[in-house]
Symmetry: D3
Subunit: 130 residues, 6 copies
Amino acid sequence: MTETKSALEAGRKIVAILNPDLEGQLSEKYDGLVSDFAETLVEWGYGRHYARPGLDLKTRQLCTISALTVLGGQTAPQLKINIRHTLAAGATRTEVIEAIWQMAVYGGLPAAINGLNAAQELFDEMDQAA
Amino acid sequence: MTETKSALEAGRKIVAILNPDLEGQLSEKYDGLVSDFAETLVEWGYGRHYARPGLDLKTRQLCTISALTVLGGQTAPQLKINIRHTLAAGATRTEVIEAIWQMAVYGGLPAAINGLNAAQELFDEMDQAA
Amino acid sequence: MTETKSALEAGRKIVAILNPDLEGQLSEKYDGLVSDFAETLVEWGYGRHYARPGLDLKTRQLCTISALTVLGGQTAPQLKINIRHTLAAGATRTEVIEAIWQMAVYGGLPAAINGLNAAQELFDEMDQAA
Amino acid sequence: MTETKSALEAGRKIVAILNPDLEGQLSEKYDGLVSDFAETLVEWGYGRHYARPGLDLKTRQLCTISALTVLGGQTAPQLKINIRHTLAAGATRTEVIEAIWQMAVYGGLPAAINGLNAAQELFDEMDQAA
Amino acid sequence: MTETKSALEAGRKIVAILNPDLEGQLSEKYDGLVSDFAETLVEWGYGRHYARPGLDLKTRQLCTISALTVLGGQTAPQLKINIRHTLAAGATRTEVIEAIWQMAVYGGLPAAINGLNAAQELFDEMDQAA
Amino acid sequence: MTETKSALEAGRKIVAILNPDLEGQLSEKYDGLVSDFAETLVEWGYGRHYARPGLDLKTRQLCTISALTVLGGQTAPQLKINIRHTLAAGATRTEVIEAIWQMAVYGGLPAAINGLNAAQELFDEMDQAA
């Protein structure tokens, strides 16, 4: 089915920009639990959403940062991964911080502060690795 | 205090772009319950957040759309108001829809579908008013 | 079992203060779905929690108002019932509004605004019934 | 790509059991906003999840009822649709009510009560249509 | 009061199946903070919910797994305990994983992934202890 | 602008009671990410909310404890800080525990148990420091 095939392919093209190792890492970590985990995630998350026309990749990633911030503590690991992706999509650290801090208005101060903490941790990790 | 004064003023400048009637409407509706409601909201939400440098107003609004979508049903009224603001900030309806639908990945399908419903209702209201 | 019996009885004493019709109304509405709904709710909610020593009833109710506010839209009906209970426990309307509005800091502005809306609706209903 | 094609096909087989009109209804309502909405939902939700081996369809649906209950008010429309699907998968009304009411322990009483309300509304609609 | 007495007793019968040490462990850990914590939890959670007729214990536990997954990170410790209980109620590891992964549809990918992480950690602990 | 200036000043008066080091600590930790973080938080959170008339400081803090409890795991660090503030506002440890445990009714057992865990950790830290 041509159309569906391109969803997975389109997802892989986005992942190649954001985080080329993602599918392999997810496959190694989760395919033992859920047989097609990595492929499904790339197809659905990236092929069916990020690959859509109508909104540029950098803005999509900043929207994700804001959403993960208001979702709160359950998403701290995902927030850090997505901050990396957002920087890879061309955003600055300042834009990331702004997309987090603005969420104090919508998700409350605790969610925003925990988002800032996650960003700070990631920036420190990146600076130490550099 | 000059600095704080400009927070309220800076907030009012943003509101003038997004929704010039907002402070008056909020004041009429809520200041009887909370004496300085409208002024505080403009100062904190718009002066201390949207007015900050580092991220453009349209992207800020799209981030808000995504966050309100994943926060779910409690924010449907705020989502509709903010979709109006997002269009006023220069976004297209397509960009708004994309910022909502992508949230299926992070907040689940029910939250994304309810976000689409709110957007459709607002678009219908706007088209009927036009 | 003496101790457990008093949990239901202790709950009924609290309910007699807050809302004497509560158990009957809940029984009529829900016992057809869940056989012991009303009794269980009075025993658990009021007998095992509100009836405990260590915190006065009015403060317990104000804490509940704040919690229902940050839980968001799913709890609007419960928020209105509990505002009635909070007034019955001796709180003023102003205290109720303050317990709601402060939640803007912790649960975000949408949750707090929706809480204010629920309170305003209830106050209007009470004033029209008076 | 054979494998992915079968995800959509497998999803359609499940939907044929639960609610044969679902894809058409979703397509009519949402494909104007999101071009491949209905197909994507069937592929991802039903093909990539409900169609998986390892857990029977009725239990999957009861798990969904419980999850929608604790997610709270944002999911009331989805809860009603999924109660229909759960009955179609062979569950009794009693099993549905139990899957909702047990959630008082995990999501709190307001979420459970709102879930019971949604179930009662649906049962009334079904009985009136019968 | 016979009826209420049997709630606690009925709860203890369920706990004897799922986790015989539970009440003692909870009592040791929490009764210093909340005097009747363990007894109340067994009475309310297990006696008033799990002990009810109308839904079998294994399905009840799988519903709990799904609910804790969508509730997100706040419930990771409870998720691990309840996975143990679910296995004790006769479910397979595969059924547990399916009840978690399906929640990607309703609670979003981050919640489902964090649920898979908790399950993997527990399975590793169980395998090392074996 | 006299009125707004007093919001920051009024906030600082409250912080002087609850936690004199708070603004300095927040400034050191977060002002590098968000230039006016500490000042804004004191102005908005304490000056615009806690400093308001109509509800006493101790009750405000107990309301915050309950709200942070039902918000769940994302707010554990904020819960511990606010328990300290609540004790500084004159509440007893028992009152704090009651404001947490009652939330089992509204936010479910996992949220309440995690709140008790945070309180126990803080009490242990305070006793070891004493």
